[in-house]
């Protein structure tokens, strides 16, 4: 089985979010970038397939040279090869089109992406990629088994979960649950050394056109101070929620 794991390079979860150039650009100053958490679960599941069932594992990112340390980290965790499509990731649709070319040329059976990246939260790349490559698609995937060309997956739905069966080629939008948090891997010294020698291929972009443009950012308005209510006066809390906030 040939597996492709899509890796989004995102600000670490504790990052303070700021903008520059008149609030039109994300300020990367002092921001630590990591593998998108949803992709990390997918990468670990892919490692499981590689080790238990035998699979060839490639990771891919659409982005500039600054994303290479993130791809190297994925190699250190255990991916065999990495691909970087050399273009700025401007919007979900264009990223999906760039990835579709990689998938078609590489003949991958299983593509694992994250349900969304934690920066722009578009939640569109995996589904668009599936549609563009004519593959089956399971979103919000929290469990995946593959047997030959058959696949069984569980997806989270509002208020529960659903078990589905499908066939390869398959794209999933994965998330926490694909593997346990405790199974996530941290690159060890040997992995880091080996990652240096693993191939990282640079591919030219197909110059996919973006469908959307980010024209500006805003930060939420500063919040007023909290209104504290004494634990001995919970009637006041109820009254505030009813009369002032009007939420009960």
């Amino acid at each position: 089985m040939k597996i492709l794991v899509c890796i989004s390079h995102v600000p670490d979860t504790t990052s303070k979010i700021n903008f520059t150039e008149n609030d039109t650009k994300f300020d990367t100053n002092g921001v630590q970038f990591v593998i998108n958490p949803n992709d990390e679960f997918g990468l670990t599941r892919a490692m499981w397939f590689k080790e238990k069932q035998g699979a060839e594992l490639t990771v891919v990112n659409v982005g500039g040279a600054e994303t290479e340390p993130t791809l190297r980290k994925a190699l250190a965790i255990g991916a065999d090869t990495a691909i970087r499509v050399n273009t700025a990731a401007t919007d979900g649709f264009s990223v999906a089109k760039e990835l579709a070319k990689v998938v078609e040329d590489g003949g991958y059976d299983l593509v694992i992406a994250g349900r969304e990246s934690i920066d722009y939260n578009g939640g569109m790349v995996p589904g668009m990629l599936a549609a563009l490559t004519n593959a089956n698609f399971v979103n919000n995937c929290i469990s995946l088994e593959v047997d030959g060309t058959k696949a069984k997956a569980v997806r989270e739905i509002d208020g529960g979960k659903e078990t589905v069966s499908t066939t390869l080629p398959l794209v999933i939008g994965g998330q926490k649950g694909l593997v346990e948090e405790s199974d996530l891997r941290i690159p060890n010294m040997r992995g880091i050394m080996m990652a240096r020698k693993k191939p990282l291929t640079l591919l030219e972009s197909v110059n996919a056109k973006a469908a959307t443009t980010s024209v500006g950012f805003q930060k939420p308005a500063a919040k007023g101070a909290v209104t504290l209510v004494s634990p001995d006066n919970l009637d006041e809390l109820i009254s505030l929620l009813h009369n002032e906030a009007k939420v009960i």
């Binding site: 979860t13 979010i17 958490p37 979900g92 649709f93 999906a96 934690i118 920066d119 722009y120 939260n121 578009g122 939640g123 569109m124 995996p126 589904g127 668009m128 599936a130 549609a131 563009l132 089956n136 698609f137 979103n139 919000n140 929290i142 069984k152 997806r155 739905i157 509002d158 208020g159 529960g160 979960k161 659903e162 078990t163 589905v164 499908t166 066939t167 998330q175 926490k176 649950g177 405790s182 973006a210 469908a211 959307t212 024209v215 950012f217 805003q218 930060k219 939420p220 919040k223 007023g224 209104t227 504290l228 634990p231 919970l234 009637d235 109820i238 505030l240 906030a245 939420v247 009960i248």
Partner: protein, 319 residues
């Protein structure tokens, strides 16, 4: 040229989000000087949509669409969009809508904006405000394609009543090869889900153990709320993963979010920032959550929550 809205239903009844996206579609249509057409799937009586601004309903009734299938639903919506030559399709942010949206967008060669929280600030160019960086910021997005797909964030626009009559007509889209087959569904039908909930009662590690969740569920019951938890709580197995809210869990955009024994770490706040009113109950007056909260009680959850339940019961009885 009307605006098309996909109005979701469950067991033949509209979900609340369906009425919210219909209200949103009406606002877009007014701005563009056009009408609203809705597509419904396996709904008998769609007349309610008229009260939320829908002018025309395309009713699909098809046994093959009994269970949700992203590809089939996306295809049906696409065929409706093509039939009506629409330029804008409005959908919700439910798990199902977020699943079908990208497939629909590819089918229509449309730009898709998800997590949209306001009516477009302009329709030429088409510009919407959406949440980004997991609710730590907003992004103004311009959609450059001829056709646009808008995913409206739950509880962001609200329901806007309108007087109107929705004329219904049957619509029979062709159903593609499904590709994915549902084997089983596991869903607690008597519980409010986090995605649908207007009120969410959430608790953290401060609850000490899973055996103490009885009072959390009781509080949620009294309020008609959904229950949720912080990440360590689901990691420890005290509560199911599906209740974990935050940056790596579920986003919550409720009208009221009550956080009990949760410190308010940045990753937790990111997921719940979009909620309108936040109440925090925590023993530690220095807990970061108090900075993000509207109302706070510095106190022991084991004393405060049972009292709050009793007082709310009395309050509810008087309503």
């Amino acid at each position: 040229m009307s605006v098309l809205v996909y109005t979701e239903s469950e067991k033949g009844k509209f979900k609340k989000v369906a009425l919210e996206v219909a209200s949103y579609a009406k606002a877009v249509a007014d701005n563009m000087g056009t009408t609203v057409t809705a597509i419904t799937i396996n709904v008998e009586d769609a007349s309610e949509l008229g009260h939320y601004g829908v002018d025309k309903v395309l009713k699909v009734n098809n046994a093959q669409l009994e269970t949700f299938n992203a590809k089939a639903y996306a295809n049906a919506i696409q065929q409706a969009a093509e039939k009506e030559s629409v330029k804008v399709v409005v959908i919700s942010s439910s798990a199902d809508s977020k699943y079908l949206a990208p497939i629909l967008a590819v089918g229509l060669q449309a730009g898709y904006a998800s997590n949209v929280i306001e009516a477009p600030t302009s329709t030429a160019p088409f510009t919407v405000k959406r949440t980004a960086f997991t609710n730590k910021a907003f992004e103004m997005t311009e959609i450059n394609t001829d056709i646009k797909v808008i995913g409206v964030s739950n509880n962001s626009f609200g329901l806007v009543e309108n007087t109107g009559n929705a004329a219904a007509e049957d619509f029979s889209p062709s159903i593609p090869d499904l590709g994915v087959t549902v084997e089983s569904v596991d869903k607690a039908t008597d519980k409010v889900s986090i995605a649908d909930a207007e009120i969410v009662v959430s608790a953290g590690r401060g609850m000490k153990g899973p055996e103490n969740w009885g009072m959390i569920e009781e509080l949620a019951d009294v309020l008609g709320a959904a229950t949720a938890c912080s990440k360590p709580v689901s990691d420890l197995g005290w509560r199911p993963h599906s209740e974990h809210v935050g940056q790596t869990g579920k986003p919550v955009a409720a009208n009221l979010y009550i956080a009990i024994g949760i410190s308010g770490a940045i990753q937790h706040l990111a997921g719940i920032n979009a909620s309108k009113v936040k109440v925090v109950i925590n023993t530690d007056p220095e807990a970061p959550f108090f900075k993000a909260a509207d109302y706070g009680v510095v106190g022991d959850a084991f004393e405060v929550v049972p009292q709050l339940i009793e007082k709310l019961k009395t309050f509810k009885a008087q309503q």
